[in-house]
């Protein structure tokens, strides 16, 4: 089978959410000695892009986004050992967390997966993350972007607490802050001084890409 056929099979397996097919195609490509970077960048990433387009057109829903990302992960498990320490270009760092008191991570996880697909280095702090831990991660990793998620109105004020602390510790000017979660509104995001409120996972990821691309142009 030609390299293009393997890449096509990888794209199709991700779009059709087929766990078995992605592993088979990835194993086949590696056995044929196809460049693992090519497999990822021309096979899997375009597959996820098609899934994203289908999501935007309303043909696919969040469930398909989640499963497609998981299918891609299975494929990556096969390919990653062949990368031999080669580094892929990173768009920038993102620290992401669900704030303290909140244990919801579906939206956060899909955003993390999509950010990684785009080429971001994602430091995912998990759920129920105290403010001080988020601040410490921003200080340590110096990300371009901080993403925070909350599904409970009860925990939304924690997002404001983080932003206030970022200001108090002179970190606010060094990081863009993006918020997500069903109860989070534009009005709320503005009221606590965030840079953006993501309407959904894809829109949020696009905003992150836009920010770092604009930053690169300035540099």
């Amino acid at each position: 089978m030609s390299a293009e056929k393997y890449l096509q099979a990888l794209r199709e397996s991700i779009v059709s959410l087929d766990f078995g097919a992605v592993v088979k195609a990835a194993q086949g490509a590696m056995a044929e000695g196809i460049d693992p970077n090519l497999v990822i960048n021309e096979g899997m990433v375009p597959g996820m892009a098609i899934v994203g387009e289908k999501f935007e057109r309303g043909e696919y829903f969040l469930s398909e986004l989640v499963v497609a990302a998981e299918v891609m992960k299975e494929g990556l498990k096969v390919v990653t050992p062949y990368l031999k320490g080669e580094s892929t270009q990173k768009l920038g760092k993102v620290v992401i967390a669900t704030v303290e008191g909140d244990h919801h991570d579906l939206g956060k996880n899909i955003v993390s997966s999509l950010l990684r697909v785009q080429g971001f280095e994602v430091i995912d702090l998990g759920v129920d993350v105290p403010t001080e831990k988020i601040i410490a991660a921003v200080r340590e990793h110096q990300p371009a972007i901080l993403g925070m998620s909350a599904l409970l109105t009860l925990t939304m004020p924690k997002m404001g607490e983080v932003i206030t602390t970022l200001k108090e510790t002179s970190l606010r000017g060094k990081v863009k802050v993006i918020l997500g979660g069903t109860p989070v509104t534009d009005e709320f995001a503005q009221s606590i001084g965030a840079d953006h409120r993501a309407v959904n996972a894809l829109e949020g990821v696009k905003k992150c890409v836009e920010w770092v691309t604009a930053q690169e142009r300035r540099n």
Binding site: S63, A69, F188
Partner: protein, 381 residues
């Protein structure tokens, strides 16, 4: 005509008839018993209470609970042992859990399941065994008692668990990290088979509910179009609602379903369901379906509007503005009730402010009446 009681208002509106005033009420489980709550109730706020009509018996399954330390945190592990093997779940409980109502902590949060009952494919047969050995028996005392206590202050609903697929999605498999979707994609037969087993085991529960003393059967499904996409809703949810509604309607009961998420993507499918009351619909900015559009789409349904917690987070002035805008949007106010909160405790200040707006909402509402309410509150109209 004598002023209607709070109960009459809620039931009139729920049966698509006109009440004298826009019914507004607080959920018992979120109610901050005290001076503000008393004042709001004196000014027309009702109460809704949800209690079950059944008790559950699980046969031939040993259930044990342990308190453990995991990663420095106290968790409660409940283990179900069956002849086919064991399954367990772990949960962290906030302070106050089990000390006031339900399984909610002092801050009104439910326990966080850190480990779900179903973790891998090997757990499905065990859980199916538990389901097939679960029996539902009628027990109308909780509803009769609450009705006696509440009288004309509000309504008592018969509360039901999440329906079968939602039980798997939210409770047993869980949606953390998209786990339910991944299971559904990887093990479709196991998920389907278990879902069918749950549906079958719940049929007696519907019969019990249909004969209960409650006027409304409340299915706490927590529908959100982000999690429950249209394909899932049509395949798994709609048939179950049809089954439930058929039995309930034969006994003169109404079916209410909790739908407080972004349901815009499901709006046409919801229109085709036999659900009577869309409970806790949140208008924008939290939800994505304006009440006016929902009313016009769902002509055979009543909407209980959930007042958004994100508005409460901005304080009493924002609460007033949002409530007045809501009234303007829903003129003339038919087929509607307002719920003070369906998710969390409301501050006294916000509760009083919302009551100040709603207590004067005489039906049928007009723009002039809303202007008058705004003027009475020191607004500019």
């Amino acid at each position: 005509m004598a002023e209607m009681t709070r109960r009459e208002r809620i039931l009139r509106a729920s049966h698509k008839e006109w009440a004298d005033k826009l019914p507004f009420f607080h959920n018992w489980r979120h109610l901050q018993t005290g001076w503000a709550e008393r004042e709001c109730r004196n000014r027309g706020m009702g109460i809704s209470w949800a209690r079950p009509s059944y008790v559950v018996k699980i046969h031939d399954v040993e259930i044990t609970e342990q308190q453990l330390e995991v990663d420095g945190q106290t968790v409660y592990r409940r283990t179900y042992t069956t002849p086919l093997g064991s399954v367990y779940l772990d949960e962290r409980r906030a302070p106050g859990t089990g000390e006031w109502h339900g399984m909610r902590g002092w801050r009104d949060v439910t326990p966080w399941q850190t480990e779900r009952l179903i973790k891998g494919p090997e757990d499905y047969p065990v859980v199916k065994y538990i389901v097939e050995h679960t029996e539902y028996l009628p027990d109308y005392f909780p509803i009769e008692q609450a009705k006696d206590w509440l009288g004309e202050e509000g309504i008592v609903m018969d509360i039901h668990p999440h329906q079968p697929m939602q039980t798997l999605m939210i409770d047993w498999i869980g949606s953390e990290g998209g786990r339910f979707f991944i299971h559904h994609a990887k093990y479709p037969d196991l998920v389907e088979e278990l879902c069918q087993a749950i549906a079958k085991s719940r049929e007696p529960m519907y019969e019990i509910a249909a004969k209960s003393p409650a006027d409304i059967i409340f299915c706490g499904d927590n529908i959100d179009g982000v999690l429950v996409n249209p394909r899932l809703f049509e395949k798994y949810f709609m048939p179950e609602y049809e089954k439930m509604a058929k039995i309930f309607h034969e006994h003169g009961k109404l079916l209410a379903v909790h739908m407080d998420g972004r349901v815009g993507v499901l709006k046409d499918l919801i229109a085709r369901t036999p659900i009577d009351i869309i409970e806790a619909l949140h208008p924008p900015p939290m939800g994505d379906l304006p009440i006016g559009e929902a009313l016009s789409l769902w002509k055979d349904k009543v909407i209980w509007v959930g007042f958004p917690g994100s508005v409460y987070a901005l304080g009493p002035e924002a609460t007033k503005r949002h409530a007045l805008n809501l009234l303007r949007e829903i003129v003339p106010g038919e087929r509607l009730c307002i719920e003070m909160s369906t998710e969390n405790i409301v501050s006294n200040e916000n509760l009083l402010m919302l009551t100040s707006v709603l207590e004067k909402a005489e039906l049928p509402l007009t723009q002039e009446k809303v202007d008058e309410i705004e003027r009475s509150l020191g607004g500019s109209s």
